[in-house]
Amino acid sequence: MYAMMALGLTLVYGLLRILHVAQATVFTLGAYTGLLVANHVHSLAAAFAAAALVAGALGPVIYRLVYQPILDRPPFVALVASIGVLIAMEDGFRLAFGPYGLSFAQNPWFTTTLGFAEVSLNLAQIWIVVAAVVLLSAFALFAARTRAGVAWRATVSDPPIAESFGVSVARVRYLAFFIASVLAGIAGVLVGLLNNLVEPGMGGVIAYKGLAIIVLGGLGNVPGTLLASLLLGVVESYGTVFLDKLLDRDAIAYLFLIAVLMVRPHGLLGKGA
C-alpha cells in the first residue's frame, strides 16, 4: 500500500525533483470516486475503473496548473505549493462530502476473510498485496521494454539529451503524472475498502510517509523505493511491539528514517548527488 503511493511519488521526483505532497489529494479523490461509484452501481470493478480515470485525470491537471509554471524556482516553492493544494483540497473534500467520512454500502472485501496458519486476512488486504505486485511489475516491464518506458528513463537521466533524441519531455512528464495518479487513485479505493471508511484527511498521513519512503530509498530510485517501503512496514510493525511504551508508530518510523539517513545520507540505494 505504501509502495503504490511511493512509486508514484518517486516517478514525479525522479523527473522533476518535486516532492509531490499533493499526491494525497489524488489518493483521496480516487477513494471518494470509487466509493460513490460502488455505492451507486454496486460494482467494484466499475469503482476501480472510475477511480483510476478520475485520479489519472487530476494528476496531470495538477502538474499543468501548479508545477509547470514554477519549475524554475527553488525546490521549496513547489513543496509549499503542493502543501497548499493538499490543505485546500482536504477542506474541499470536507465541504463536498461532509466531515464524517463515508462507508461502502456493500463491502465484501471487508468482511470476507481467509485464514492462513494463524493469521487471518480479509480480502482487501490480500487484494492490496496482489494489486501492488501486479501494478509494480507491470511498471517495471513498462520501464524496461516499451518505448515510452525507455523515453521516461532517458528523461530522468538527462532531459536535454533525451530531447535531442526526439523524446518529448513534456509528454513524458504528463505520462509520469498520469501513471502516478492512477496508482494513487487505485490505492485510495483499496484503502477505503480496507478500512470501510473514506474520510477527507485520509491522504495526509500516507503522503507524508510516502515522502519519507522515497527519501529513504534514495530519491528517484525505483528499486530503492520498493525496498524502503517494505523495510518501513516491517520496522513499524516490529518497532511498535518493542518500543510501544516509548514512542508511537509514526515516531518509530521517522526515527528509523533519520537513523538511516545519518548513516547513508543519500538514502539506502541512492547514489551521491
Binding site: S103, T111, V119, N196, L197, R249
Partner: protein, 383 residues
C-alpha cells in the same frame, strides 16, 4: 490583503452589525465555539447540530421568558491560539454566558479568560480534568473520562457476570482517562484485567492486537476509542475470530460506527448517556427531532452540546439573562434537571452527576440494555 480590502471588510461588518441590531434587542445571545474547520471538523459539526437543535426547540416553545435565544457561533479549529482571542471577543461583546463545543486544549485556554471575566462557561464534551479547575464559573456537562470508565466494570461484573477482561485503549487523553477509571474500580466488581493493549488515533489496521487478543482469550473486551478507529478495530476482531463480547464507550455512540463495522457491530455494548428506547420526554424529543432535522442519527457530541444549551436556558429562566453572577449560581444549583442526556446535577466543582446508559447494538440500531444509576460509583471528583 491590502489595506483597502481590510477596510472594506470592516465596513461590511459594521453595516451587517447595524442591520442586525434591531432584532437583537429582543433576543438573548449566548456564545458557542466549536471546531467547524480543521482536523476536528466532524465533532464540530455534531456539536453545532446539537446546539442549534436545542435553540430551535427552545424558541419553538416560546423562548426564555418570552425572548428568543440566539447562538453566536465562532470556529476555533480546535486550537487554543484561536480560542483565546475568541473568548476575549465574546467577553468584549458583552455576552453573559458561553458554551464550548470544542476540545480540551482550546476549552481550557478559554476557560481562564472566562473565569477571569466572571462569565459562566459550560464545556459540553471536552474531557480534561483541568478545565473545571479553572474556577467556579466553569462547568462541564459531559462525563469525565474517569467517571465513565467506572461504569463498565459494574456492567461487566454485576450484569454480564464476567471476570476476565482485556483492555484495548486509545492512546489519547480520552482513552487513557477511561482506562484509568476502569482500573480504579475493577477489583470491586470482581473484574480482572488480563491484559491491555494501546493503539494510536491514526491506526486503522490492528493485526497485532487481534493476534494478541486471540492468544489471551479474555471473556470480555473493553474498547476505548472513536468510531473511526473503533469501527475498523471491532470489525477486524470479529473477522479474526474473536467472539468475546465487546464493551465500548460513548466514542462509539454514533451511527457512523455501525456503518463502518457493519455486522461486526451486532451485540457491541456501550456506556453512554443516550438511550434510543427512552421514555424520558427530553431525551426522546432530542433523538427524534435530531433525526428529523439532520436526517442522521444523533451522537453523543451533539447530545452534550444540546444539554449544555438547555442547562444555560434553564438557568436563565430562573435567574434572568442579565447578571452573570446570578447565572453562575443558578447553574451551580441545577438538580436533577431533565435534559437530552438524562437527569443531571452539578457538584461543587462544576462537574455533573448523571446515570450511565448501557446501549447494545441490535439489528444495526442502538437499543436499551441497562442503566447504571449509582451516585457513589459515578460521583465526579469534587476538587
Amino acid at each position: 490583503m491590502s489595506f483597502r480590502m481590510s477596510s472594506s471588510l470592516v465596513l461590511a461588518a459594521a453595516l451587517g452589525a447595524a442591520l442586525a441590531a434591531p432584532a437583537q434587542a429582543q433576543s438573548i445571545r449566548i456564545g458557542f465555539h466549536a471546531p467547524l474547520t480543521g482536523f476536528a471538523a466532524s465533532d464540530g459539526k455534531s456539536a453545532q447540530n446539537g446546539a442549534e437543535l436545542a435553540v430551535e426547540q427552545i424558541n419553538a416553545r416560546g423562548g426564555i421568558n418570552g425572548r428568543k435565544l440566539e447562538l453566536v457561533i465562532y470556529d476555533d479549529q480546535a486550537r487554543p491560539d484561536q480560542a483565546v482571542p475568541l473568548a476575549n471577543k465574546y467577553v468584549g461583546e458583552g455576552l453573559k454566558i458561553v458554551i464550548s463545543g470544542s476540545y480540551s486544549g482550546p476549552t481550557r485556554a478559554a476557560a481562564g479568560v472566562f473565569q477571569g471575566a466572571k462569565i459562566p462557561y459550560i464545556s459540553a464534551y471536552a474531557i480534561h480534568p483541568d478545565i473545571t479547575r479553572a474556577g467556579n464559573f466553569v462547568f462541564r456537562t459531559s462525563f469525565m473520562g474517569e467517571v465513565q470508565g467506572r461504569a463498565a466494570p459494574k456492567l461487566i461484573g454485576e450484569i454480564l457476570k464476567k471476570k476476565k477482561v482485556t483492555l484495548l485503549t486509545l492512546n489519547n487523553d480520552f482513552g487513557q482517562a477511561l482506562a484509568a477509571g476502569f482500573k480504579e474500580v475493577a477489583g470491586k466488581f470482581g473484574v480482572q484485567i488480563a491484559s491491555e493493549y494501546t493503539y494510536a488515533m491514526g491506526d486503522r489496521q490492528f493485526g497485532s492486537i487481534v493476534a494478541s487478543v486471540k492468544k489471551d482469550e479474555p471473556e470480555v473486551l473493553y474498547v476505548s476509542g472513536y468510531f473511526f478507529n473503533g469501527g475498523p478495530l471491532v470489525a477486524q476482531l470479529r473477522a479474526g475470530g474473536v467472539t468475546a463480547p465487546i464493551v465500548g464507550t460513548e466514542g462509539f455512540d454514533t451511527h457512523n460506527f455501525i456503518s463502518i463495522a457493519k455486522d461486526a457491530a451486532e451485540g457491541v455494548m456501550i456506556t453512554t448517556s443516550l438511550d434510543r428506547d427512552t421514555k424520558l420526554p427530553e431525551m426522546r424529543a432530542f433523538i427524534d427531532d435530531y433525526e428529523k432535522k439532520f436526517n442522521a442519527g444523533a451522537d453523543m457530541v451533539a447530545a452534550s452540546t444540546h444539554t449544555a444549551v438547555n442547562v444555560a436556558a434553564a438557568a436563565m429562566r430562573k435567574a434572568g439573562a442579565d447578571d452573570p453572577a446570578k447565572l453562575r449560581d443558578a447553574i451551580a444549583a441545577t438538580r436533577d434537571l431533565p435534559v437530552a442526556t438524562g437527569r443531571i446535577t452539578f457538584n461543587a466543582a462544576g462537574e455533573v452527576y448523571k446515570a450511565a446508559q448501557i446501549q447494545v447494538i441490535k439489528g444495526a440500531k442502538f437499543r436499551y440494555f441497562a442503566t447504571i444509576d449509582d451516585p457513589v460509583l459515578l460521583a465526579p471528583p469534587s476538587k
